[in-house]
Every structure is written in C-alpha cells, then in structure tokens.
Symmetry: C2
Subunit: 238 residues, 2 copies
Amino acid sequence: MRYELYYHPTVQGRGEFVRLALEEADADYVDVARKYGKAGVPAMMKIIEDKRAARPPFAPPFLKAGKLVIAQTANILFYLGPHLKLAPRDEASRLWLNQLQLTVTDLVVEIHDTHHPITSWLYYEEQRPAAKRRAKDFWRYRVPKFLGYFERVLQNNGGKYLVGPRLTYIDLSLFQIVEGLRYAFPKRMKRFERKIPGLIALHDRVAKRPRVKAYMASKRRIPFSQWGIYRYFKELDC
Amino acid sequence: MRYELYYHPTVQGRGEFVRLALEEADADYVDVARKYGKAGVPAMMKIIEDKRAARPPFAPPFLKAGKLVIAQTANILFYLGPHLKLAPRDEASRLWLNQLQLTVTDLVVEIHDTHHPITSWLYYEEQRPAAKRRAKDFWRYRVPKFLGYFERVLQNNGGKYLVGPRLTYIDLSLFQIVEGLRYAFPKRMKRFERKIPGLIALHDRVAKRPRVKAYMASKRRIPFSQWGIYRYFKELDC
C-alpha cells in the first residue's frame, strides 16, 4: 500500500517520528506537503478543514492508508507498527510499546515549552526570562526523569532495544529525541549523556542502520531550524 | 476480572477519565491509593520505583488487569474500551476513538498549564502574570479550536455520541472536560457554552445516566480542589 503522510513541509516536528518509521521500513509513502510543493499544504488544510468529514484530523501529522485517515503521532505509529514490522504482534507488547510512545509524546510537549512556556502567541524574545526558568527546571527535573526512565527500560530489556528482541518504532523515536536535544541544548546534552549510556549507544546503532543513514543524508530529512519543537538559544543552554 | 486502579488519592486528575469509564461500566475495581488509606500511596510508588520491573509505569494513573500493568490514560482506556463495552470493536473505529482521546490528552495539558505556565516548581502566585496571559490565549485560541472540533465531530455523527451509535469512553471524557472547565473558569465557560450546544447536551445526558449520577453523588467522586488539573483563580476567569 502507498501511504500518504500529511505534515508541515518545513519542520521535522512530530511528523518526523512517522517519517523515521516509514523510512526504516522502506515503506512506499508520499510526504504530501513536501512532494507537491505549493499545492501540498492546501491539500493538507483541505482535509483538516472539511466541515462534513466524519472523522477529521484535529491537526497534522496524519496518515492516509487506503480509506483510513489516522491522526495523532502515537496513534499513527500504533497502526503502522505491525504493518511495517516495527512492533510486536501480541496485544500486551503493543500496549506496552504504545505506553512508551505516549511518554515520548509527553516529553515532546515539554521540550517545545522550554522556548515558549507562556504562550505560542508571543515571540521567544518576549518570554525569555520565563524560558530560562523553564529550561532550567526541564534539565534539572524532567530530562533526568524521562531519559532515566527510558534508560532503565532499555537496560532491563537487555540493552539493545526498548521492547522485545527487535527494533521497534520507540527505538527510532528515542533516536530522534537524542538528535533533537543535541541540536537544541548541545552543552547541556553533552554533560548529560554520560548518565544514559544505553540510550546513546542505541542512538548510534540506529544512526548506522542503512536505511536510516541513507535517509539522514538525503534531502528528505529536513534540517533542524529555529522553527518547530527543537530550537537553539544560547542562553537556554548553559 | 477485578481491576486495580492506581492514582493519586486526593485529586480527580487524569485518573478520573479511567474512574468514569469503570463506574459507567459497573466494573469490579479497586481505587488502590484511596481504598487502602495510608498504605495505598506507598503501594503505588513501590510499583513505579521498582528498578527491576520489565515494564514499569512512568507515572500514575496505571491499571493492573491480571498480569498486565498498563499506564498512560489513553492507553488504559484503549485497553478497557472493548472489555467495558465502551468502545466499538472494529480496528478503524478503535483507532478513531483513540485519536479523539489523545486530543483530550493534549487539551488536558493545556488546561493545567493555564495556572502553571512557566514551571510546576513555582507556586501559582509566583507566575500569576504569565498565567493570566496563558489563560487569555487559551480561551481566545485553544478552547474554541479544541471544543469546536469535538462539537463538529459530535454533530457529524448525529449529535448523540462522538463515535458510532452508542456511548463510548470519549463521551465520558468530554463530560469530565466540561465539568472541569466549569469549575476552573465558571464565567468564561458560561459565556462559551452557547457555542457548543451539542457538547453541553451530551454532558447533561451523561450526568443523568444512572451509574454516573450515583457515582457523582458518592464519596468515590473526589471533589474539585485547588490541586490538580483544574483550579479556580478569580483573576484567570474574566
């Protein structure tokens, strides 16, 4: 089946967790808003704004898979997992994998909010003191809690993958989390990485997988920027 | 099966979405941290902090169902849905229901952040100006977007339930969202309700269901308070 992924064409954002899964699985997919240039974003907005749709997405990313239109990153991955052979098939393991992915979802909100804690309707520069306080607490309390948790899960599963004996989509998502934190907080992340040796080794193994490596070197991988979830501000990274 | 729900004993919080489903279904369950008094919270923390657990929860709420330990509110409901007859059984509808529940998850974070936008490690009183700005944008942009979306989904499904021809757990969750917004923002919500007549009618129908009604009148329903997701501050409600 040819999948259609709908997401903002200029940022990695939440869409990247889906892109990584599709790429690793060598799935047949179209990144609609990128492929069709100026026509892509209106195509995406038309689906979101269709007032008569029975099951409209609230926001991108969403995936068209045949007649299905599936939104919410973790939900898309829950659906794709078995089809892409990036999830175990038994119910208990799928729920466990979904639970971990939803914890990534929570972490992503908190990463974003380090640079826009007060509101997304003010520029970063208009909320810099609040961002500094938020980033400080994020690194003091939240990063150790989240990444410490994933490190523990990884180690308790033998150290190679998070769930079961094979790569699943949560491994790809944690690769992306490490990439994003390195971009947004290079200094802080450098200091912190010694506390999560398993996750860093997992990141490095994922980076070397042939399809991920090819994807990362291609134009399909959108560069990090000052838009989206991960943004670099020197004063937040101290 | 007797379910065990683990959640903070003094707030509705995220656990309430699960409690409402268990109550409406008349399920056999124990609210562990409440039932066992002082011993309940340590029992919960022991599971979270078990360093050797293969599949530990990151945070409450979590549910024990036989040998399964399931965390993340939407994941718990995804599992419980078919067992409690609060979800359709076909895959496409379950994904759609999950998608809607994950949108409630997103909304819940934003409701909480109206009173603690900068960080949870400062008191409300230490971040009041930021909270005022956040609450203003929340009501200007986010509430209309979220609740307008759910209203549209409800109306496009015939107006009685969100998904399919019967009550599902998303209807109970939206009942709780209306309850919470009425508590935290009575004035703003009163003005806004005329824009979501379908959701308000749904709320009222859910409130009249015999088991929900009995639950709401019981001591099992924890009152709203100044702790948890929904908090009332006069200056945020203007």
